[in-house]
């Protein structure tokens, strides 16, 4: 019984590390951007091993409709190498932090031709078995304001403000009236005059203006 348990645990310990050595890479799923703007494509990974000095990041790009993908970025041996011949020359910048497992790149001045799939592949030796992760880039001319968003926001804000003001007003009236009532009760309660206490309670009705003659 004990031997079986020991054998099972050894086998498990033998199997699990190999699976846990797979590196898991995270990028977004889909990114939207405006023509002419910049976008940061993030890539990070999870690995059971400490971040090694030989960690590598590799970005490749496959245009919409194209069959092949080209490599546009590579980080290795502590230095980033950006695209200097392909479609992203002078537009790609490395903004990641390999020490913190971040291999993000910045794409500047986007154009419609940049629509496509970007794939990030990271390796953390000896942890090299893993699946590359892809993010789709969609470039728009104009992100339209949805009809009615601003309208609803303005209406909601103003009505909310109104409700807030009314609530605060009645709350103040209630609190002040209660405080005056308590004060008057404590003041006159000692003298035993409960009648005046109830009279004080009506203090907060604004007194009717009787000085002007009322003509109909």
């Amino acid at each position: 019984m004990l031997t079986i348990l020991a054998l099972a645990s050894v086998i498990l310990l033998g199997i699990v590390p190999q699976q846990s050595e797979a590196i898991v890479i995270y990028t977004g799923w889909e990114r939207h951007a405006l023509v002419g703007s910049d976008i940061r494509l993030s890539c990070s990974f999870f690995s059971w091993r400490w971040t090694s000095d030989d960690v590598t990041f590799s970005w490749s790009y496959r245009a919409d409709g194209a069959r092949d993908s080209i490599s546009v970025f590579h980080y290795t041996g502590g230095s980033p190498y950006v695209d200097n011949k392909g479609p992203f020359r002078d537009r790609l910048e490395f903004v990641g932090n390999p020490g913190r497992r971040d291999g993000s790149i910045l794409l500047k001045n986007l154009d419609y031709g940049d629509n496509g799939t970007f794939t990030c592949d990271a390796k953390n030796p000896p942890d090299i078995v893993g699946r590359a992760s892809s993010v789709r880039l969609l470039v728009f001319e104009k992100v339209p304001i949805q009809a009615g968003v601003i309208t609803g926001a303005i209406i909601g804000a103003v009505l909310g403000l109104l409700v807030l003001v009314v609530v605060i007003y009645y709350l103040m009236r209630f609190l002040v009236a209660r405080r005056v009532f308590n004060l008057s009760v404590s003041k006159h309660g000692k003298k035993g005059k409960g009648k005046e206490g109830s009279q004080q309670r009506q203090l907060w009705r604004p007194p009717p203006v009787t000085c002007l003659p009322l003509t109909s």
Partner: protein
Amino acid sequence: MLVLLAGIFLLHLTSIILLLVATIDNAWWMTKTVSTDVWARWILTNGTWSSNDLPGQYPQEYLQAVQASSILACIFSSLGLFVFVGQLFTLSKGQRFTFSGIFQLLACLCIMIAASIYTDIFHKNESDGWYGHSFILAWISFAFTFISSIIYFVLRKKTAN
């Protein structure tokens, strides 16, 4: 006294109706074949009117601001009417209808904002066309709500409940 109250009530009701027409009817700017704003554009083709979307060149923020403030004017004015009727029964003798006046004043402010934004931003360079009845009613209801709110602030309740 009752006649006065009825008159004030009718004035308030009229301003609500004018505000509703100005907000709902798409006739802030008209030409011979087009009646437009603030929600849709009616175009006359071959003798029939058809409803189209507003052109995308319209500055969206200003358009939605006009929509929002005209709706708010309607809401405030309607609430003011209920508040007025409520205050008729709950105010003590000699008090003023301040809350109703405040609501009407807010409605006045909102429709003024809507009409001003519309006047200043839209259709400034178009010469073939004229301001439609919704636009005119918006400014008229501005005047009515203003008068109405002044009356509410000045009027005092004369008879007891």
